[in-house]
C-alpha cells in the first residue's frame, strides 16, 4: 500500500480552461414543492417533474464556483477534539457539543463546556474560518472523554452531525478498526444522500483506515504549496484531492498560533473551499459539488 501525499504534481495536467462569462445559476436541485416522486423508479408521466435547470456556464471556473463567496449561510461542523470558542482566529460557534456513550450504549450529545482538549479541533476550525470568514462553525467533540470508547464515540458523533444537517462535516481523523467500517460506510452514504458533504483526511501512513476510503466522501491528502486555495485533483484515487497541509499557521489553545503539518490540516482547507462553493450555490448535491471541485482544481485549469 502507498501513503498519500503530493510531493510532486502528477503529470496529469490538462490545458487550462479559458474563463467563461459568469452565469448565475439558481436551482440545480430538485424542487421539493413538487409532489413526491416514487423513490425507486421513474414513470413516464413523472419525467417532466424532475426536469432540472440546465444553465450551467460553458466552463465551470473558480470564479463561477466561489468568486465573491465568504461562506455566508454555509454550516460547517468540526468533528474533532472540540474547538476553543472565542479564539480570535476562530470567533463564535453556532454550537458545541460533546458526545458520550451511556451505560446501555446510548449516544448522548451534551453542551460542551470544556472546549478543546488537544488544540487540534481549534486548528481545523481556524483554517476554515480563515478561508470562509462568514460561514457558521459548530463543534462536535468525539475525543477526550476516554480512550477506549473512542470508536463508539466517533460513530455516535458522526451520526449526530449527519442528523443536524450540516452542509460540510470536517473529519480530520480516521479509524483502523474494521468492525466500525461498515457502520461508517452507511453513515457516509446517508450523509451523501442528505446533502451533507463529508470531508475526510486520508491517512499519511500506509495503513487501512476509514472513512476516507469511501467514495461517498471527499478524501484529502497534503500538498506542499503555500497557497491555501490551491487544491489538486488526484487522477489516482482513493485519495481524490490534495489540499494545503504543510507548514500551515493555525490557531491553537490559549488564543495563540502554531505552525503545523499533516493531512489533518489539508482537510479543513477543502472543507472551507466546499463551504465557499455551497454558500454561493446551495443547491449543489455532494455529487455535483465533487464535480465542481474537479473542474476547478488547480491542476484542471480552475486555479486561474
Amino acid at each position: 500500500m502507498r501513503s498519500f501525499s503530493l510531493r510532486t504534481l502528477p503529470s496529469f495536467r490538462p490545458e487550462p480552461v479559458e474563463s467563461a462569462p459568469v452565469t448565475d445559476v439558481a436551482g440545480h436541485g430538485f424542487d421539493a414543492s413538487q409532489p413526491a416522486l416514487p423513490a425507486w423508479s421513474l414513470p413516464k408521466d413523472a419525467v417532466d417533474r424532475i426536469s432540472l435547470p440546465s444553465e450551467w456556464p460553458e466552463h465551470v471556473t473558480r470564479e463561477w464556483a466561489l468568486g465573491g463567496s465568504t461562506g455566508k449561510g454555509a454550516r460547517v461542523c468540526i468533528l474533532d477534539s472540540g474547538v476553543e470558542a472565542g479564539h480570535p482566529l476562530v470567533g463564535g460557534l453556532e454550537s458545541a457539543v460533546v458526545i458520550s456513550i451511556g451505560e446501555s450504549d446510548e449516544v448522548a450529545a451534551e453542551e460542551d463546556t470544556e472546549g478543546d482538549v488537544s488544540g487540534h479541533g481549534t486548528a481545523c476550525a481556524g483554517i476554515v474560518r480563515a478561508l470562509a470568514p462568514d460561514c457558521s462553525i459548530s463543534s462536535v467533540r468525539v475525543l477526550g472523554s476516554n480512550f477506549t470508547g473512542s470508536g463508539a464515540v466517533l460513530l455516535g458523533g458522526l451520526r449526530y452531525a449527519v442528523e443536524q444537517g450540516y452542509d460540510v462535516i470536517n473529519m480530520s481523523l480516521s479509524t483502523t478498526k474494521k468492525p466500525f467500517a461498515s457502520v461508517l460506510h452507511e453513515l457516509a452514504d446517508s450523509a451523501y444522500f442528505k446533502n451533507t458533504v463529508l470531508v475526510a483526511s486520508a491517512h499519511n501512513m500506509p495503513v487501512e483506515s476509514y472513512p476516507w476510503r469511501f467514495s461517498s466522501v471527499i478524501s484529502v491528502g497534503s500538498h506542499e504549496e503555500d497557497d491555501s486555495l490551491a487544491f489538486f485533483y488526484n487522477p489516482s484515487p482513493p485519495v481524490e484531492f490534495f489540499g494545503r497541509g504543510v507548514n500551515v499557521e493555525v490557531p491553537w489553545l490559549g488564543g495563540r498560533s502554531l505552525k503545523v503539518s499533516g493531512n489533518s490540516f489539508a482537510t479543513p482547507h477543502l472543507s472551507a473551499i466546499c463551504a465557499l462553493i455551497l454558500a454561493k450555490h446551495p443547491e449543489l448535491t455532494p455529487f455535483q459539488l465533487k464535480s465542481v471541485l474537479y473542474l476547478t482544481a488547480t491542476n484542471v485549469g480552475g486555479g486561474k
Binding site: F147, N204, M205, S222, G245, R256, V260, S264
Partner: protein
C-alpha cells in the same frame, strides 16, 4: 487439556527472546530516528489499555534518564490525539507560549519547540506513539519527512508487537507456578544447541514423548 495453550506459551517464552532484547530494539529505533531528523530527543510511548495511560518505553536525548517508565493519561494532549485518531502530525511552536509548554511537558518532561508524532499501528490496534522532538529550527518541514516518520513508526510498531508478545508469553510463564518454567527452559536450551547436538536433543525428546504416551 486447558493447560495446552499455557505450555505453548511457555515454549514460546523460551525461544521468543527476552523483553530486554526488544527494548534494545526500540531504543535503537528512537536513536536512529533522532539522528536522521537531527532532533534533540525521540521517544516511544506505549498504551496501557487497562489504566488508559501512555507509558514511556524508549527515550533518547532529553529526558532519557528520568522518563523511562513514567505514565500520563492517554486521553489528552498531542500524543492522546495522535493515538485516538491514528493520525500523525507535526507541530512547531512559532510563539514559544508557556501554556503550550505545559501541554507538551506532561508528555515529555521538558519544553520542546516542536514535535512530530505518529501512531504505532498494528493490524487494527493502536499500540502507542512515536515522537521526535525539536528538529533543527531553520529546517522547514516537508512531506518527505512525514513519510520517513511513517516508516519509522511502522518499524517501531513491529518491534512493539514483538515486545508485547514476549511479555504475554512471559506473564503466562510467571503465573505457571514454576511448572511451566521447566518447559520454557527446555525449549530455550534445545533452541540454543548446535546443529549436531540439536538433532540428538530432538531425537531424545521424541523418545520421551513416545514413552510418556505409552
Amino acid at each position: 487439556m486447558t493447560e495446552r495453550p499455557d505450555l505453548r506459551a511457555a515454549v514460546a517464552a523460551g525461544v521468543v527472546g527476552s523483553e530486554e532484547s526488544f527494548r534494545a530494539l526500540l531504543a535503537a529505533i528512537v536513536e536512529v530516528a533522532r539522528s536522521i531528523f537531527g532532533a534533540k530527543a525521540s521517544s516511544i510511548l506505549l498504551l496501557d489499555e487497562e489504566t488508559e495511560e501512555l507509558v514511556f518505553e524508549a527515550v533518547v536525548g532529553e529526558g532519557e534518564d528520568t522518563l523511562l517508565g513514567t505514565r500520563f493519561p492517554a486521553g489528552k494532549g498531542i500524543s492522546g490525539w495522535v493515538l485516538a485518531t491514528r493520525t500523525p502530525l507535526v507541530i512547531e511552536d512559532v510563539q514559544q507560549d508557556p501554556r503550550f509548554a505545559k501541554d507538551v511537558a506532561e508528555d515529555t518532561g521538558y519544553v520542546p519547540k516542536g514535535l512530530m508524532a505518529a501512531p504505532l499501528l498494528h493490524e487494527e490496534r493502536a499500540l502507542g506513539v512515536l515522537s521526535v522532538l525539536d528538529r533543527p529550527e531553520q529546517s522547514l518541514f516537508s512531506l518527505q519527512e512525514m513519510e520517513l516518520l511513517g516508516l519509522f513508526a511502522n518499524q517501531a510498531s513491529i518491534a512493539v508487537d514483538l515486545l508485547l508478545k514476549a511479555r504475554t508469553a512471559n506473564s503466562v510463564l510467571e503465573q505457571g507456578e514454576g511448572d511451566l518454567e521447566i518447559v520454557a527452559r527446555l525449549a530455550a536450551v534445545v533452541d540454543g544447541l548446535e546443529d549436531s547436538k540439536r538433532a540428538a536433543g530432538l531425537r531424545l525428546l521424541r523418545e520421551l514423548t513416545d514413552t510418556l504416551r505409552a
